[in-house]
Amino acid sequence: MKKILQLKSVVAGYGNGPDILRGVDLELAVGEIKCIIGPNGAGKSTVLNAIAGILDVRSGEILFDGNDIGNLEAYEIMREGISFLPQDRALFRTMTVAENLRMAGYSLKNKILLKERIESVLETFPILKKRLTQLAGTMSGGEQQQLIFARATIVQPKLILIDEPSLGLAPAIVEQAFNYIERIASEGASILLVEQNAFRGLKSSTTGTVMDLGNVVFERPASEVMSDRRIRDLYLGRRDDK
């Protein structure tokens, strides 16, 4: 299977602080949905931040489609074909839906192409069509989420990074989010996501990666992760400790 993304011994951290990622190795195949789980402080979100260029890579390599993107700026990485959905719902609340969509496609210099792409995402997310002139921040949580996914897919990225899609959302909206994730993947994008709700995240994924203390502990097909004995030790501490 062709690899879209490869992390090789990636070390990264924030500012002058300690290393949060301590030699992460991770691969993602084309069309794969991979869910990273692990206890608090494992470094899950930091992996996404490092790939998206929010964070400098201190050592190691991040290869996207074979090219090292480890030291590119965030906007350059986006142009390479990676969309990032951070935890804090990336949309412009005081701009209209139409403006939000145009902003998401600002890197598309061809205006005709941009128009086509907007029309195409509006077909996927029909509610947005009725909301084009409405301010994004005034829509319901579920509608905002449609806009977030519409924005992420407008540039037709090859890889989408998603940080905690279920965070702070009602159960029905969480289901909707994972339906979108599965649909986007079926259309050919690869997806790397981080999720606290391990059960839900793994249900929609092909593989599960378990992290702890800045390292990948193990990786298995998503359906087998939960039955691994190491999970209990990681989340609840080793039992032979005392």
């Binding site: 206890p39 608090n40 402080g41 999720e195 391990a198 059960f199 989340y235 080793r238 400790d241």
Partner: protein, 244 residues
Amino acid sequence: MLSIENVTKRFGGIIAVDSCSFSVKEGQIVSLIGPNGAGKSTLFNCVSNIVTADEGQIIFENTRLDKTPTHKIAKLGIGRSFQLTRVLDELSVTENLVLHTASGFGLNLFLPSVTKEDMVRAKDLMDFLGIYHMRDSAMNELSYGQKKLLDLGSVLMSDPKLILLDEPAAGVNPRLLETILEKILSLKSQGKTILLVEHNMELVMGISDHVVVMAAGSVLKQGTPTEIQADDKVLSAYLGKVEK
């Protein structure tokens, strides 16, 4: 010593803490754990009455904490730390400590607000925490770990009987974790009672007498560390499924 009885706290339509009950016995280390969003911090804030419980009662040695203003809670013999270290950058280590004296300050403009006893206590605490050599240092000379220890020191300045620690191990490297663990155990051996909120399972399972697991606002399970580690409901809650 501390008893939390059917405490409920709502924020608008959201029930953050839903009828929680548990108690902390004198001389025990009790840990409050649970997945993110379980309501641990809210409950913790209810104990120090930073947020006031909507229902139920919190009793510390016959005093209703939910009816006691925050600043008076400290006088009852309860000290608490916060998740983010709270130090004043302009002051030295010693000054940061004596700021937290039980005698208080500003009572009389013409009397020194820091007593000799306060200074002795500050020195003892710096010795205890291993930061005495940093006593005159400004905050920008301290490492994150030293600040974390200083923060613990400020909680201890008023010599509280009950110590509330909010994530003492957050952002702490393994070596410092060892030190903090050791200091908490040593406080216990001095007869202190400790209630802490913590995500680091090594610390929780290593030092607790009793563990209370919260999930979705309620107490899911309580027991000894071994009982908690063996419980399937607790593991499921951490993995995203709350079975009530």
